[in-house]
């Protein structure tokens, strides 16, 4: 598993072994460069029959269906579905807010585990894996490749990335939508502390480019519960101004704002067909990934 014998803190071989039983599937046809296990928008040489079409001059005579000619005295070409690999592009939020974790595990560590495991699973089934670290801009971009050495490079980048700076997720996503070749699997791992309306544009842009977009929305349980009992001074981890708060006074309004945000996100992902997973980082990432993989298995097959 680790050719260079360097154990990665974010990879658990046992978890990977259990998750390997479930394939990473694409929800829509992908456009890879080699044969793989994912549906392709093109006709190919797989065993799965696709359709008959009339022979036109220039077609390969080997693909002529002679039996159909014998029955109908017409020339038909027999076409089969093409199977291809996918390009899995992991978009990892490395802004300062990802360094938060109330229970020992920070969001960036959690994101590393998710990203690393997914990278490994994708590479293992022959898919190309790329990584794009996003903070104030694109911090590091590793284009999708499918060889094991490239995977090690991805792991190294994951290992070395540090969360800092403000989030500029929206322009980066727009940029990636344009720069990544069409029909790729874009996996966003972030806390998505962006206005939902701005995210909507990003997701629609990605969908327009026929990407299969999945999002892991990482939230700390304390961010969800906001359980503070004493006056607090909150320091913005992305360099913004600090805020002095009486928790008893503001708690209700905080939950109101949070609820409103989560509702808008939910509507947004439904409308833009994003494979969205809200994750509390105190949850076991294996279960999260299992849920993700199984969910995609059900949605497989749409061409």
């Amino acid at each position: 598993m680790f050719p260079d014998s360097q154990p990665r803190s974010f990879l658990d071989p046992q978890v990977i072994a259990r998750l390997a039983a479930v394939p990473l599937c694409a929800r829509w046809p992908m456009q890879g460069n080699v044969s793989g296990r994912h549906p392709s928008p093109h006709r190919g040489a797989s065993v799965e029959f696709a359709e008959y079409r009339k022979y036109v001059p220039g077609d390969d005579l080997r693909r002529m269906d002679w039996r159909a000619y014998g029955r109908s005295d017409r020339f038909y070409i027999k076409e089969f579905e093409a199977d291809t690999n996918l390009r899995c592009c992991l978009v990892l939020d490395t802004s300062g807010s990802m360094d938060y974790g109330s229970d020992g595990v920070t969001k960036i560590e959690y994101a590393r585990r998710v990203s690393g495991t997914l990278s490994y699973l994708a590479a293992q089934q022959g898919d190309a894996v790329g990584l794009c670290c996003v903070a104030e801009g694109v911090v590091q971009n590793v284009p999708p490749r499918r060889n094991p050495a490239h995977l090690m490079h991805v792991f190294d980048v994951l290992d070395k990335t540090t969360p800092e700076g403000p989030t500029q997720l929206v322009p980066v996503l727009h940029e990636l939508a344009e720069t990544i070749e069409q029909r790729a699997l874009i996996v966003i791992v972030s806390d998505l502390f962006v206005e939902p309306e701005q995210l909507r544009g990003c997701f629609e842009h990605l969908r327009f480019r026929k990407h299969d977009v999945a999002a892991f929305h990482l939230l700390d349980p304390r961010e969800l519960n906001f359980e503070f009992y004493r006056p607090m001074r909150f320091l913005d981890m992305e360099g913004g101004p600090s805020v002095f708060v009486e928790p008893n006074e503001i708690s209700e309004r905080y939950h109101k704002a949070l609820g409103q945000y989560l509702n808008e996100i939910r509507e947004l992902v439904l409308e833009s067909a994003v494979d969205y997973h809200r994750v509390s980082i105190d949850e076991d990432y294996e279960k999260v990934l299992m849920r993700f993989l199984v969910g995609r298995t059900r949605a497989r097959g749409v061409r």
Binding site: L219, F234, E238, H255, A257
Partner: protein, 659 residues
């Protein structure tokens, strides 16, 4: 509102404790890194009206809870009128209890009298307020009695109703003397009374000196008046005005004259009278139309040999049971003897005549002219009236006269031919004045004294008299009749017992028309004889109060005063026997009059003093003061519950649950 533990209110600044804790808490904030700043900023942008209000409400509830606790520990009292007056525990509490008969009045539909209600309320109130020492001054003896606790007022025999009038100025004097003698600390004087004019004696000059003396006390005295001024309009009183035993040829009989009075004269009312002569009862129903009714010489036959005895007249029960009966004793009429001492026998001849003509055939009257030298040989124990028309007595003679007066005798002094410089009873003859003209009587008192109006209300023909010559007098006396310029014609000297009168002229024709217009002279002499005769003989009718001199001790009860202590018999109406004498004790005349002091006059009596007053009614069940610390505790609990409810976080859906 007042507090039994007012020093606990010193802890009131503690109500600022929640605010202080809040401010300290604000200072002791924690700093933490935070990722989800967008929600905090959004929350800050939202309207914070209710949240801010909730914080203030929580702070208010905490403050109120602390305040309620402090107030509860201070033991607050619910009393509107007492609030400004009381405060703190008194060192000495003196209770002035009016035990006069009018305090036995009950309100309509109430079972308790004014006195019972007052005692109960005083006991409850003073028990609540607390004091180091409680002293009772009741209206019969005016002697301070220390009480173990206010509750003892409820069963103390000295707090029961009596038939004696109260003398509020005297009671206050006793209270003042007690305060001064015992050097008490902060003193409170509680007065329980029904504000009858005869008990309060507002015209007495003692009130001024009382105000001054209480003002001068350094320790500060507070007065609380618990007043029951409501007078019963349906109350009927009965009073025997005259009782005579008369012997006729066939039988002996008792002539009873009595008077009924009632508060309101609304139509005709039938009053059943019950006569009880030593157990033999008879009844008579009389119809009463106005507010007054008089029955004259009602004859009650006696057994032949029944010469002396006692009896009672009573009416049915009404709002005041203390004036529904009147007791009397009777005996054979005594000879009414008058001693005349004169240096001019001719000048006093009309007086001798007036003193010997009996007003009724059954009475025997006698007069004896005695020279000054034989004064010691006079049987004074048989004399009703002394007429003195000579120079005023001195030394042994004066002592004899004084002893006669102190026994209850009556004396009338007329100016001698040549006035000397002797003084008796504070009065001295000055000189004769002869203006050569006849002087009319300018004014006289028809309400009391020898020249008072007749029972029918008609005045004596005093105005028809003329004085040609009069002798001026000096000294302290009360004028009953005056000539022009206020020159006294008839004056009364001040004495504890008996009666001493001074005429400024003589009945001689050269001096006045007293003899010529003899009605006034005759009535005045007969009235003086009647008053003097009351203290003679073996029967005596007394007004409830301290027994006068000459009355034997060791009384035995014959009737009435069922619940009274034997030491208090003179203060309770009834008939009593002591040695060979019979005595009837009844309430004073003033008790039958329902005149009540108005609020302004009472306030005027305590002007300049720390005084508060509450009016109540007989049978009232309400307490003067009531501890309400429980209410404050409930308030504290309510405030804490409110605080807890406000502090509770709102129930929320789990919107943060992962999908």
């Amino acid at each position: 509102m007042t507090f039994l533990q007012p020093f606990m209110l010193a802890a009131l600044p503690l109500i600022g404790l929640p605010i202080l804790i809040h401010l300290i808490n604000q200072r002791r904030y924690q700093t933490t890194n935070w990722a989800a700043m967008m929600f905090l900023l959004a929350a800050n942008r939202m309207s914070r009206g209710y949240a801010r209000l909730r914080q203030w409400l929580i702070l208010l509830a905490r403050t109120l809870a602390v305040a309620a606790l402090i107030f509860a520990v201070g033991r607050p009292l619910a009393s509107g009128w007492l609030g400004l007056a009381a405060g703190g525990r008194a060192d000495t509490t003196i209770i002035l209890l009016d035990r006069s008969p009018s305090m036995s009045q009950r309100a309509t539909g109430a079972g308790a009298s004014k006195l019972e209600t007052g005692r109960r309320q005083l006991a409850e109130t003073l028990e609540t307020l607390g004091s180091s020492r409680w002293v009772l001054i009741e209206s019969t003896t005016n002697q301070p009695r220390e009480l173990t606790s206010p509750k003892s007022l409820l069963d103390l025999p000295y707090a029961e109703p009596t038939s004696a009038e109260a003398d509020l100025p005297a009671m206050l004097e006793a209270a003042h003397d007690y305060i001064k003698a015992n050097q008490t600390g902060r003193t409170e004087i509680w007065i329980c009374s029904d504000l009858r004019e005869n008990d309060w004696r507002v015209d007495s000059g003692r009130w001024d000196s009382l105000r001054e003396s209480f003002t001068e006390l350094p320790q500060g005295v507070r007065f609380h008046l618990l007043a029951y001024p409501d007078a019963a309009t349906d109350n009927v009183t009965v009073r025997v005005t005259d009782i005579r035993r008369q012997q006729t040829d066939e039988r002996s009989e008792l002539l009873v004259s009595l008077a009924l009075s009632r508060g309101k004269a609304d139509g005709k009312a039938t009053i059943p009278l019950q006569f009880d002569i030593e157990g033999a009862r008879s009844e008579l129903a009389v119809d009463m139309v106005g507010s007054k009714y008089e029955l004259k010489d009602y004859r009650i036959p006696l057994e032949g040999d029944h010469e002396r005895g006692w009896g009672r007249v009573s009416i049915q029960a009404d709002s005041n049971p203390a004036d529904n009966a009147f007791y009397f004793v009777f005996d054979q009429p005594l000879m009414r003897k008058t001693i005349i001492v004169t240096d001019q026998p001719q000048a006093v001849w009309p007086l001798e005549l007036a003193a010997t003509i009996p007003p009724s055939p059954s009475a025997e009257f006698a007069a004896e002219v005695v020279p000054v030298q034989q004064l010691a040989s006079v049987p004074w124990e048989q004399v009703s009236l002394l007429i003195w028309q000579a120079r005023l007595p001195q030394q042994e003679d004066a002592e004899l006269v004084r002893a006669f007066i102190e026994r209850g005798g009556q004396a009338v002094f007329l100016p001698p031919h040549t006035p000397g410089d002797e003084t008796l009873f504070g009065v001295q003859w000055a000189s004769w004045v002869d203006d050569g003209e006849e002087l009319p009587i300018q004014s006289w008192r028809g309400d009391q004294g020898l020249l008072a109006n007749a029972m029918s209300g008609e005045s004596l023909p005093v105005g028809d008299l003329h004085v040609r010559r009069y002798c001026t007098m000096s000294g302290k006396s009360t004028a009953l009749a005056s000539l022009r310029d206020g020159v006294p014609l008839l004056a009364r000297a001040t004495t504890d017992q008996g009666g001493v009168y001074f005429w400024a002229t003589t009945p001689a024709p050269s001096d006045s028309s007293l003899a010529a217009d003899g009605i006034v002279l005759y009535v005045a002499v007969q009235r003086a004889i009647a008053s003097g005769a009351e203290v003679l003989g073996n029967t005596r009718s007394l007004t409830a109060g301290p027994p006068p001199a000459g009355v034997p001790t060791g009384w035995e009860r014959l009737s009435g005063a069922e619940t009274a202590l034997s030491t208090e018999y003179p203060f309770h109406q009834g008939t009593f026997a002591a040695k060979d004498r019979l005595m009837a004790v009844n309430r004073a005349v003033g008790e039958d009059e329902a005149a009540v002091l108005d609020e302004a006059r009472v306030a005027g009596l305590f002007g300049g003093l720390d005084f508060s007053r509450v009016d109540d009614r007989a049978g009232s069940l309400k307490s003067l003061v009531q501890e309400i610390w429980r209410l404050f505790l409930i308030g504290m609990i309510a405030a804490m519950v409110c605080e807890a409810a406000l502090c509770l976080p709102k129930l929320r859906r789990r919107e943060g649950a992962p999908t």
